[in-house]
């Protein structure tokens, strides 16, 4: 029996768990826990360690399917998988959630994080959730990726449909694993699949939870304010006048710097912290900004990722 491995990665709620469940012939091993972060806007549970499944290719070969957790705070698992569990994988599938405000930011991030891993093997970008948001389309992806210097295959898939995910696998490893009846495998997997939708990872609709509510339900964040493109407060749950005043002054500072120092690049965030004090932060993008009060023990890395995820899924 020949054994092959493939690694699935991508942002939280991009469909990694669903894709592996779609392909696996065994009951998948997953490590779901209740969401306690910004992903609450999209799903109730999240992978905290890894997903694992097995696809029988034929009587002589099988594919081991490994999925990473999406959140950066589980980065230690990414490293463990790259260096140990999936170090001999023949390829990587990067799942990209098309409903994120800037999917290319995710692509850049994961390409950078997995750079050493993909430099030695093939990687394909599989775009999910295009049924919920059709843009950017395939041509847009191809154009932007070319500008980024990323030359790889991009495929739009439905992670819930086995034959759709299998198409990516075939594109990725078809030349390595020759002589397989891919159509037959797809038909076999599709016939086992119950009616759609069946996955808890699949969002029923976007923005079920408002941005501010999602922010304050996120682990470590105590209150938040939402600001528009002009950095003016639209809504706030911050009760302390002092904190509100400080966050407003931070937003004003960002607004001034954006006007005076635009040539130096965009401002991503401004953070203010101190021993025993709640951390105050303002995270911005072109359309809006989020002011956050968070517990002092929440690390800045986790805070940054939480805020980026909240803004990435926001249409408000």
């Amino acid at each position: 029996m020949k054994d092959f491995k493939v690694l699935f990665t991508g942002s939280v709620a991009s469909g990694k768990t669903t894709a592996i469940r779609s392909l696996s012939d065994i009951d998948t091993v997953d490590t779901d826990a209740n969401v306690s972060d910004s992903a609450i806007r999209r799903k109730r549970t999240t992978t905290i360690a890894m997903d694992y499944g097995v696809l029988e290719l034929d009587d002589t070969a099988r594919m081991h399917l490994y999925g990473t957790p999406g959140q950066e705070r589980f980065k230690f698992m990414w490293e463990l998988m790259m260096s140990d569990l999936a170090h001999d994988a023949i390829g990587m599938i990067l799942l990209v959630d098309n409903t994120r405000k800037d999917p290319f930011r995710d692509i850049k991030f994961y390409l950078e994080e997995f750079r050493d891993f993909i430099v030695r093997r093939r990687m394909i970008i599989a775009v999910t959730h295009s049924d919920l948001r059709a843009e950017p389309d395939l041509q847009h992806y191809q154009r932007v990726l070319k500008d980024m210097g990323v030359f790889t295959t991009v495929m739009f898939i439905d992670a819930r449909v086995p034959s759709s995910v299998l198409g990516v696998l075939q594109e990725l490893v078809g030349t390595e694993v020759a002589g397989l009846d891919w159509e037959g495998i797809g038909a076999r997997l599709d016939s086992k699949q119950p009616e759609l939708p069946q996955e808890d990872e699949e969002p029923a609709a976007l923005n079920q939870v408002p941005l501010l509510q999602a922010a304050v339900n996120t682990r470590g964040i105590t209150s938040a304010m939402y600001l528009d493109a002009e950095r003016k407060i639209v809504d706030s749950t911050i009760k302390s006048e002092i904190k509100k005043e400080l966050l407003c002054s931070m937003a004003n500072l960002i607004s001034a710097l954006e006007k005076k120092a635009a040539f130096m690049g965009s401002i991503d965030n401004l953070v203010l912290c101190g021993e025993g004090e709640e951390t105050l932060s303002v995270f911005v993008d072109t359309q809006h900004a989020l002011g956050l009060c968070s517990e002092p023990n929440l690390t800045l890395n986790v805070l940054k990722q939480q805020a980026a995820d909240l803004l990435q899924w926001s249409n408000e």
């Binding site: 002092i242 400080l246 710097l257 130096m264 690049g265 965009s266 401002i267 401004l270 203010l272 800045l300």
Partner: protein, 113 residues
């Protein structure tokens, strides 16, 4: 003061540093190419720590990510502000550790100024 600032330099972590006081740059290792960052840091951290102090908050550390870089400001005794320039994706915890471990030398430098 320059020697104390240079001791902070670490490849990939801290590429320049300066001391601010009373809205002025008192000592700096910023290269000419990075002077725009120094100007931003001077205005931003002076303003933000002044505001924190005005409302009685004890915040004494601030980080601003702009372009590909991160500016970090640390409020020190006697109104001194230490500024570090780092790549945006560098390890912020490591940066804090470096600054924390260098506190003695940094304070000595500001006290002797």
């Amino acid at each position: 003061m320059i020697a104390a600032l240079k001791q902070l330099h670490q490849p990939g972590l801290i590429q320049a540093a300066c001391f601010l006081r009373n809205k002025e740059v008192e000592a700096s290792t910023f290269e000419a190419n990075d002077r725009n960052y120094q100007t931003i840091a001077r205005q931003a951290f002076t303003y933000i720590f002044h505001n924190a102090s005005r409302v009685g908050a004890n915040h004494n550390e601030s980080h601003l990510e702009i372009g590909h870089m991160r500016l970090s400001g640390f409020l020190m005794p006697q109104g001194w502000i230490l500024v570090c320039l780092s790549p945006k994706h560098s390890n912020i915890q490591l940066l804090r550790e470096v600054v924390k471990c260098s506190q003695k030398g940094l304070r000595a430098a500001t006290e002797s100024a």
